[in-house]
Structures are given as C-alpha cells and as structure tokens.
C-alpha cells in the first residue's frame, strides 16, 4: 500500500514533468539524490566520481523520460539508469578491475591485525568493490539500497532466481575472503 502510494507519487511527478512542469524535476531529484549517490558511490568508491555519476544519472533519466513506461516503479527505473551509468563509467576508467585482486587483499591483510574498525571496513568495502560485477550489484542493491529480490531483478534485468544466486554468492565470497585474511565476524 505504502509502496503503491510512493509509486503513484512518483508517476504523478513524472507526468507533471512531461506536462512541462520543471519543478517536478527538482522534487524527484531531492527525493532520490541520496539513494542514487550512495548507490553509485558504492560502485565507484570515489566521492568525486559518485557526484558526477549522480548528476549524469538524473540528466539521463529526465532526458529519456519517454522511456519510462510506468509499468515498473520510477525508483527501480532510476536505479537501472544509475547502474548503467556507473558501469559505463567504470568500464571506461578502470576496465581492469573486474574481479577480486588477491594480491591487493594480501597486501592490505598484512597490516589487518593492527587496523582499527575503520580500516577493516575500508578493506571490506574494497573487497566489495572488487567482487564480480553481477555479484556486487546484487549485494549493493539488496543490502544497501534495500531493494527486494523482484526490484533488484528488475534493475539488473534478470530473474529473481539469478538475483538470489548472485547475492548469496557475493556475500559468501566476501565472508570467505575476510575469513582468509583473519577478519571474521563471529556470530
């Protein structure tokens, strides 16, 4: 019910924009800017790049608003654009970083025992950023963005089952790497 209300609100704003009300753009940006920024930040792992990607995402979204068919929610449609914008950017600037680089993890793990929590989270964030692309997307969308399996599947353009597989593989891989390097969260 709440979700439907939010969808209706968003669609109302999109329709206002389509009718020429530019104020609707501002309202939608204010509503989603923090979520989009957080999402692309977790992809790019860099504040300046994330700022740039956030702006690009919104500009792409409003420039191609005709492509929004209102069959899905504006939120998932926007995430999808953010995902594609982020991926295009990452493929251009760092095409080599697609898998976990074991040597990097080892280098950082050497000093792990003396690191503080902040540094451990930095390592985990780094590992997250180096997960295989689809696994990282599933983990970020499910854990950080709070999207359901169905919503994540819509953003990623795959089935619910594929999302579950990517998500669980990603979490498992992260835990294994962290455990190997002496950083295990005990239940």
């Amino acid at each position: 019910m709440c979700l439907n209300k939010q969808m209706d609100e968003d669609i109302g704003l999109v329709e206002r924009y389509a009718a020429g009300d530019e104020g609707a753009v501002e309202e939608l940006v204010v509503k989603y800017q923090r979520r989009v920024f957080a999402f692309v930040y977790r992809m790019a792992n860099d504040t300046e790049e994330a700022k740039d990607l956030t702006q690009k995402t919104f500009i792409s979204a409003f420039s191609g608003i005709d492509g929004f068919r209102k069959q899905s929610s504006f939120k998932t449609w926007l995430y999808r654009i953010a995902l594609n914008t982020g991926l295009n950017h990452l493929r251009k600037v760092r095409p080599e970083e697609t898998e976990i680089d074991e040597s990097l993890v080892c280098r950082e793990a050497g000093a792990l025992s003396s690191m503080l929590q902040e540094e451990r989270t930095r390592l985990l964030r780094r590992c997250l950023g180096l997960l295989p692309e689809r696994q990282r997307q599933a983990v970020v969308l499910r854990v950080y963005e709070g999207l359901s399996c169905a919503e994540t599947a819509e953003v990623m353009g795959c089935s619910d089952g594929a999302v579950k597989a990517h998500y669980h593989s990603g979490v498992k891989r992260l835990r294994e790497v962290m455990k190997e390097k002496g950083y295990e969260i005990l239940a």
């Binding site: 501002e26 420039s63 950080y144 979490v171 969260i185």
Partner: protein, 191 residues
C-alpha cells in the same frame, strides 16, 4: 505466520536495516537463535551496513536539483532545435531540388534560344534547329518520285515554266533533245 528458512534468509538485509514488519522481526529473531548460518550472515550484513557513504556536503545536495533542472532544460532545447532541423531539412531539400529544376529549365531554355539558327551561317533546315512538331501535312514537300522528271525537264518551257537548262546551262534545242533522250534511257532518274 510461518516462514521457511529460505524466506527468512531473504529478509536478512531488511532485518539488518530495520525495514521489516513486527511479525517478520519476531519470526526472524526466533530463527536466528536456531540457525547459526543465518545468524552469521545477519551479523555480516550488519557489519557491512556500517560502511557509511562519504557525504559530499550540503552544497552538493542543495545545488544538484537546480543543476539537473538546468542541464535537462538545455538538453531539451538542443534536442528541440535538432528536431526542428529534422523537420525542416526535408522541406529545404525539396525546395532546393525544385529551385534547381526551375533554374536548369531556365538555363536550358536560354540555351535553346541561343542556338536558334543563324540564317547566315547555319542551315535553317538542320535537324538540330528545326522543330518538326509544328509541321503539318501541307508543309511536307512533295517527293520527287511523284513528279515525272520528263514533266519538268522535257515539257515545253512555256508549260513547265522551268528554264534551267536553257537559261543557266545554255543548251540549244538539239542538246536539250539529247538530254531528254538520255534521261529517258536512264529511266528518268537523272543519273
């Protein structure tokens, strides 16, 4: 409500973020006491959520909506200009072709005028300058085979009206007679 292990496991991210209903929370808390796998995963997700995103600052949040609005407006303006040109371009092309056709017609017409026969230097009956379409049947010259050469050359001068041999070649009567005989032998072909 009864949830399966898989259903509860899928709710762990929402549970860690506190985005879950009361009923689901109770069911999950019970499940976590019994399932070490889910408990470890839940703790790991909670740990992951501590990774805060760096805040880009108030200036970014406050100016982004306006910047996006201006960029989108600019892009739409450029796009509408583009679509204007896309609409106008075919019409311009058609107009250009029409102008070219009219212009070349005018030029071609002038050229035709320019080659009008110069009766001092050109043959006025030349096929290149003569417009046969305006000819009528009465204009078509009578062909020579329809005329008996004899009629022309042998008829008395007073009847035929032709005095060519007499006037220009200066044949006397006897020579005229011989010419007529030789023409007759040659079947009046004049050969």
């Amino acid at each position: 409500m009864k949830y399966s292990h898989e259903e509860l496991r899928e709710k762990l991210p929402d549970f860690a973020r506190g985005a879950i209903s009361e009923g689901e929370r109770s069911a999950l808390e019970l499940h976590l006491k019994e399932c070490p796998g889910c408990r470890a995963e839940s703790d790991f997700i909670s740990e992951m959520l501590k990774f805060d995103v760096e805040d880009p600052g108030d200036l970014f949040w406050k100016t982004l909506p306006q910047r996006v609005k201006l960029e989108v407006r600019g892009k739409n303006d450029r796009s509408s200009q583009g679509s204007f040109f896309r609409r106008v371009l075919p019409l311009t092309a058609v107009a250009g072709v029409l102008i070219a056709v009219v212009f070349s017609y005018v030029l071609y017409g002038n050229k035709r005028a320019a080659v009008e026969p110069d009766f001092f230097f050109s043959d006025p009956l030349s096929a290149t300058v003569f417009d046969y379409s305006v000819l009528e049947e009465k204009d078509i010259p009578v062909m020579t085979e329809d005329i008996g050469v004899r009629d022309v050359y042998q008829a008395p001068e007073s009847i035929s009206g032709y005095g060519y041999y007499r006037d220009f070649v200066s044949l006397n009567e006897r020579e005229m007679q011989r010419l007529a005989e030789s023409l007759q032998k040659d079947d009046n072909r004049g050969g």
